[in-house]
């Protein structure tokens, strides 16, 4: 027993995920954990970095946390380019009971939302073109209300129709890191359904929810912002949070 103790002391220090890298990596991980856990909203890398100790390796911390939580009931996921803890998706069956009457989108609304997501920036006329039926104002209003779509700008064509796009809240709700992660996007592109709309000499023929307007978009008029203050507010919240 006695001689064993000496050997024990000479043992190499435990190598855990937390204790490697910089001296206070473990502490930085705890802080990141606390921040992410406490917040209902996803946090951006910069937001996190600003609150972590000087010199913390934010990428490594997030990677380690993601690994640490991967087998747990709560996972660290990347949504809309930000980080958030979410309950593990395989446990939805236990949690579904908590859902306070999740309003299900109508098929028309879901289709309209999809068209906006995959074809953004897109005008109402273009949505109707694809669906072959008039889109009621109610559908767009409802989608605006969800906070998943926003008015982007106005297309530089006669009539200057408003263009629609998705918000970071859309990505968050559908568990997408970026708009490029939309399911089936590659197939749609492959079939030429995305390219079809954009003139070949125009910008990249992929959906974009980027903040910056496209070449064929004008900024919204001041009036547009006042017409739907609630919606615009939501969108802006999501956007500013990105920084």
């Amino acid at each position: 027993m006695m001689d064993e103790t000496e050997v024990q002391e000479a043992e190499a220090p435990e190598e855990t995920l937390a204790e490697s890298h910089v001296p206070d990596h473990g502490e930085a991980m705890r802080i990141a954990e606390a921040l992410l856990f406490a917040s209902a909203e996803p946090l951006g890398t910069e937001e996190l970095a600003g609150r972590l100790p000087e010199g913390a390796n934010i990428e490594q911390i997030l990677e380690d946390l993601q690994e640490l939580y991967a087998p747990r009931g709560v996972n660290l996921v990347r949504v809309a380019g930000k980080w958030a803890f979410r309950t593990a998706s395989d446990l939805s069956f236990v949690l579904a009971r908590d859902v306070v009457e999740q309003r299900k989108l109508s098929r028309a609304a879901m289709e309209t939302l999809s068209i906006i997501a995959y074809h953004q920036p897109v005008t109402r006329a273009e949505i109707e073109e694809i669906r072959g039926v008039a889109t009621s104002k109610g559908t767009l209003d409802l989608l605006m209300e969800t906070g998943w779509i926003r008015l982007r700008g106005r297309r530089k064509v006669p009539g200057r129709p408003v263009t629609y796009g998705t918000t970071p809240g859309f990505l968050d709700h559908f568990g997408l890191d970026a708009i490029e992660d939309l399911p089936g996007l590659e197939e749609l592109k492959g079939a030429g359904f995305i390219e079809g709309r954009v003139p070949s000499d125009m910008s990249v023929p992929v959906p974009s929810d980027a903040e910056a307007l496209r070449e064929d978009e004008d900024p919204l008029d001041q009036d547009d912002l006042f017409q739907e203050p609630l919606d615009m507010h939501k969108t802006e919240m999501g956007e500013t949070g990105e920084e």
């Binding site: 856990f37 406490a38 917040s39 209902a40 909203e41 996921v77 949504v79 958030a84 803890f85 979410r86 309950t87 593990a88 998706s89 939805s92 949690l95 579904a96 908590d98 859902v99 999740q102 989108l105 098929r107 028309a108 879901m110 289709e111 939302l113 999809s114 068209i115 997501a117 995959y118 694809i130 669906r131 072959g132 039926v133 008039a134 009621s136 968050d172 709700h173 559908f174 568990g175 997408l176 939309l182 399911p183 089936g184 996007l185 197939e187 749609l188 079939a191 359904f193 079809g196």
Partner: protein, 269 residues
């Protein structure tokens, strides 16, 4: 184009004056003519790439006619589509005229097929999107987010320029206004009385009041008020029997002397 289409006379009967297009019949729950066409195309049980537009047009027209026989009110959209399909059908059946400005019947048919495939594709992805693990349905965010405590720290901003400007301006303004609104300095009766009571304690013999008051009259402006108040206070103290006062002639100095007996009490200050 050539012959009158069977639906042209139907269209005007469709009610639209009410401004309530939603009330018009949604044929069997189809969302518009394109949706109906897509459903019919699916019934051909072939790949949408190889769909026969001609067959599709015939099926659509037959469907609409059946609906009309059942006296269903059809939304204008459906009738317009039926008319267009009838036209397309006739174009497809007739020999193609020499290439003109208009797109050929083949091109129109291809465009329609493409539209159907595009609608089908977007339906597909919409379904996939809805099948994802949705936040609030399948995955959940923190139920009780811990609020961020905001410590507000007011940082005041001011420049040296502002400081100096504020100082210089007010000093200048204040000085200028002081000249015009000169404050009257008054030696009050109470002041005079206090000073005299101190005087009484130190005196044993006659002294001119002026000699004693000289220290209070350094400023010439103070002279009248000091003299007036001192004299009043003197007379008051005479009445109380604490002082004796005499004046040899008009405008001569006023002499004061404490009354002998109560000298001790007057000495308290």
């Amino acid at each position: 184009m050539a012959k009158p289409l069977p639906f042209e006379d139907v269209e005007p009967t469709v009610e639209r004056g009410e401004g309530e297009p939603a009330l018009l019949v949604d044929v069997d729950g189809f969302e518009g003519p394109l949706d109906l066409l897509l459903e019919l195309a699916r019934r051909q049980k072939v790949d949408l790439h190889r769909i026969s537009i001609l067959a599709l047009a015939e099926q659509y027209i037959a469907f609409i006619e059946a609906a009309r026989r059942m006296r269903l009110e059809l939304a204008a959209d459906y009738l317009v589509m039926a008319a267009w399909l009838a036209y397309l059908k006739s174009r497809l059946l007739l020999p193609e005229p020499p290439k003109g400005e208009e797109p050929s019947a083949e091109e129109l048919a291809t465009a329609l097929a493409l539209r159907l495939r595009r609608l089908e594709a977007i339906r597909e992805v919409a379904k996939k999107l809805g099948e994802r693990s949705l936040l609030g349905r399948d995955v959940f965010a923190r139920g009780a987010p811990e609020p961020v405590v905001i410590n507000r720290d007011a940082r005041y901003e001011a420049s040296l320029y502002d400081l100096l400007k504020a100082y210089a301006q007010q000093r200048q303004v204040q000085f200028n206004s002081k000249v015009s609104l000169h404050k009257r300095t008054v030696w009050s009766l109470i002041d005079a009385r206090e000073a005299l009571e101190r005087l009484v304690g130190h005196l044993s013999d006659w002294v001119t009041l002026d000699t004693y008051l000289v220290e209070y009259m350094v400023e010439p402006a103070m002279r009248p008020t000091v003299l007036a108040s001192a004299l009043s206070a003197t007379l008051e103290m005479v009445r109380e029997g604490k002082l004796s006062v005499r004046q040899d002639e008009a405008f001569a100095p006023v002499w004061v002397k404490p009354v002998a007996d109560p000298a001790e009490t007057g000495a308290q200050s």
